[in-house]
């Protein structure tokens, strides 16, 4: 098992796609900060636009990558943790992780390298676990690079206006978001292994990250309401919905629910991937 993990980590660090992805994260971070800066400028110049921004209802299901800029940042301080939370809530990282995981997992299936090792393992389902560990390292690097680039870009745009207030809360948010993103990556891995191609995992992952499934969750919840369970909201237990919601003002109960949802998704998707790897013939 340890050897398999080392093998996948070696591949992670020797793949051009990993470094291209990390480089792309720097670009994405600068792009997001630049867009936020544009938004602030637009609010400053157009009071009607600012009014419209204030009226956005966060509880209504939406689709797409949406960054809601705080109008208070126009002239006041910009807390670094709020900026980070805003960017992560936009699901831009979910999108990037979908691309990274799809490329990483599919590479071995596409070129057939798996044929060199899978037959010789008594339990080849372990390959799914070793791959998840590499994905976890990859996602961690993506988080680190994205956060560092975001801070750098924000400092370049806003200078001393950027302040760091509540680092403890930020760690709590980042820890929870990391687990949710890792579970989402594991779900993408499961899709990639099950479909044996990365088009399905890319499409489904991107659509989910963009919130398309919110409408499905609402529909299912309404069916459950009709059956008598009036308080149940499926969206509360889904990964991407929790990614949109976790912020500094989130209650402990929501944090706990997000952690449990992330953990359950992570375990189930790894078991699913390992089961498919074990039972299905290798092509």
């Amino acid at each position: 098992m340890f050897n398999l993990i080392k093998m996948d980590l070696y591949r992670l660090f020797h793949s051009l796609s990993t470094w291209v992805m990390l480089l792309a994260m720097v670009g994405v971070a600068f792009f997001c900060v630049a867009m936020t800066n544009d938004d602030l400028t637009a609010m400053q110049n157009d009071p009607a636009y600012m009014e419209q921004s204030l009226q956005i209802d966060n509880d209504t299901p939406h689709a797409g990558i949406i960054m809601e800029t705080d109008p208070a940042w126009i002239n006041g301080e910009i807390p670094a943790e709020d900026l980070i939370v805003l960017l992560i809530n936009s699901a831009i990282l979910l999108l990037c992780i979908t691309v990274f995981v799809s490329i990483f997992v599919h590479a071995e299936q596409k070129n057939g390298y798996i044929k060199n090792i899978a037959g010789q393992l008594p339990f080849r389902g372990l390959l799914a676990v070793s791959r998840l560990i590499s994905i976890a390292v990859g996602i961690f690097l993506i988080f680190v690079v994205y956060l560092a680039a975001t801070f750098a870009a924000a400092y370049l745009f806003w200078g001393d206006q950027l302040v760091a207030d509540s680092i403890t809360t930020l760690w709590k948010i980042l820890g929870t978001q990391y687990l949710l993103h890792l579970a989402f990556g594991s779900l993408v891995m499961l899709l990639c292994i099950a479909a044996r191609n990365n088009i399905v995992s890319l499409c489904v992952g991107i659509l989910m990250a963009c919130g398309i499934m919110n409408f499905v969750y609402t529909g299912i919840s309404q069916v459950i309401h009709a059956a008598g369970w009036k308080t149940f909201e499926l969206g509360k237990y889904m990964l991407e919905t929790n990614v949109y919601q976790i912020s500094g003002s989130t209650s402990t109960e929501t944090f706990l629910r997000a952690l449990i949802s992330g953990g359950v998704f992570l375990v189930l998707t790894v078991i699913g991937s390992a089961w498919i790897m074990q039972k299905r013939d290798i092509r």
């Binding site: 590479a107 070129n111 057939g112 390298y113 044929k115 010789q120 008594p122 013939d281």
Partner: protein, 304 residues
């Protein structure tokens, strides 16, 4: 242990179609077992099951004297090259080998260099695999199969894409590994003449069924002699042969017939043909080539 690998009633179904049908294979330690079969005969499916990449629908594999779960564990002693070589195109040959070395826990110094030297890829340096020729990729695939010094190596069409010099080198390498390291090989190929220069045993597979298992010596003995007859009227010649009760013959082209029985009846045949006014252009007794033997066994022997 008499046999290193045996299968008992090994079957693989895809839906209703049987790709491999109740196949009983017997491979001794030290054999170079040539698996012969047309495209779609079931060779690759069989090799994939033997490599642990596909599960049999029915039947059992006995490996190194172990069966069931123990046989599954023994699969770590197998090296494989199934279909095209599975390699990362963005990595070098050494990096591809390093990956497998890590997976099987090999840390020996210069091991990768030795493997590259063995398969003739020592000079590839930092060249990415995507820039390799088909033959070079094939050699890298064989090097990957050799990682971990397996006792049994399964090679599916290993000489595909190799030039004549490469084929000769590969043959020498495999023979060397077989003799010096006592590695058993299962090699499938449709280039029968090449296989016959290397294999010690053969299994002939057709439509998923193992038609015959035989040693190299047995095969040579069975590559029977034949009469090769050239006449100016093939249609009428067939009628004459039928009348002489000769049934085991094959029309090769517009003026050639191969007769596989009564090889000492050349004079009688020419006499009968002359009586019927058929001109004999040539008659000779020849040995059957391996390819002809295979074709006869798998249906080519039928009268045309």
């Amino acid at each position: 242990m008499e046999y290193l690998l045996t299968t008992s009633g090994l079957t693989k179904r895809y839906g209703r179609a049987k790709a491999v049908d109740h196949l009983n294979l017997h491979i001794r330690p030290g054999d170079i077992y040539g698996l012969i079969g047309r495209n779609g005969a079931g060779k690759t499916t069989l090799l994939r099951m033997l490599s642990g990449l596909a599960s049999p629908t029915e039947g059992e594999i006995s490996l190194f004297g172990e069966t069931g779960r123990d046989a599954r564990r023994a699969m770590s002693r197998i090296g494989t090259l199934i279909e095209s070589p599975g390699v990362y195109p963005g990595m070098t040959a050494a990096e591809n080998l390093k990956l497998k070395c890590i997976a099987v826990g090999i840390r020996r110094k210069h091991y990768i260099e030795e493997l590259l030297e063995l398969v003739g890829l020592a000079d590839t340096g930092k060249k990415k695999v995507r820039n390799f020729s088909v033959g070079m990729k094939q050699r890298l695939g064989i090097a990957l199969a050799l990682v971990g010094e397996p006792d049994l190596i399964i090679l599916d069409e290993p000489i595909n894409g190799l030039d004549p010099q490469g084929i000769a080198q590969m043959r020498e390498t495999l023979a060397l590994l077989n003799h010096e390291k006592d590695i058993t090989f299962i090699i499938s190929s449709h280039i029968l003449e090449e296989l016959s220069k290397l294999a010690t045993n053969y299994g002939i597979i057709h439509r998923g069924v193992l038609l015959q298992e035989l040693t190299h010596e047995e095969l040579l003995a069975r590559c029977s002699e034949r009469i090769e007859l050239h006449t100016d009227n093939i249609r009428h010649t067939c009628v004459v042969l039928d009348r002489m009760n000769i049934q085991n013959y094959k029309v090769v082209d517009g003026d050639t017939i191969q007769i596989f029985e009564r090889l000492d009846s050349g004079g009688e045949i020419t006499m009968q043909l002359a009586k019927e006014g058929i001109k004999t252009l040539g008659i000779s007794v020849k040995n059957e080539a391996l390819e002809d033997y295979y074709l006869n066994l798998t249906g080519g022997k039928q009268n045309v």
